[in-house]
Assembly symmetry: C2
Amino acid sequence: MTNTVETQWKGNMAFDATVSGHHVMMDAAAEVGGEDCGARPKQLMLAALAGCTGMDVVSILKKMKIEPEDFKITVEGNLTEEHPKYYDKMHIVYTFKGKDLDVDKIRKAIELSQEKYCGVSAVYKKTMPVTYEIVLLPL
Amino acid sequence: MTNTVETQWKGNMAFDATVSGHHVMMDAAAEVGGEDCGARPKQLMLAALAGCTGMDVVSILKKMKIEPEDFKITVEGNLTEEHPKYYDKMHIVYTFKGKDLDVDKIRKAIELSQEKYCGVSAVYKKTMPVTYEIVLLPL
């Protein structure tokens, strides 16, 4: 199967990508000649990882009859210093809030995503360490 | 340097990522339990590539005193069929419209992006072939 994304230049450093029918604006920061009217493209790599593993985790938890009150994913990417500046390490923090959350089931859901389902993680892990931690906050 | 993206679960399969201060909504398609209120996360990997190389190319062309009338980038990603479903091949089509466009300079700008500057391409190319073609359309 092929996925296609069309991206239109909007002048200067701004680009408008149509991603599965939804517009995603990208732009550079003012200090490098952009106008900050959209996301930095490289950082979309981190959002892609969060969304992909996040969707896995909520669907697996749903099958386990677990619904957290709140769920947040923080992805940190370490950038190299010389051109091309690329991510050489990523770390994911999965933070759940809820009452009586079952840590073993949550850990299992995340392991399934990281080891079996998440296609974004699968690509990144071929080139860099992708680590994670789980934070459970009681309500 | 570290980049951080925070992503908040919005219920069901929807996630709201804050990418360099800009909200990027992600959601699954209805047929897999989502409500299609945002982009598919995996496809953001293709947008990231388009935006990253696109910004390189327009800044290099600007230094070369070349400003196309129109510039579009199509990125196709080939998905594997078994879980984890991931991209194992990408192809970029750079399409320029303009009067008397200098194909050699445009090719040079794209080569510089692909070989030296684009940090998204640098990661993907470690795991899969990333090919490209250039289309010049006269005005």
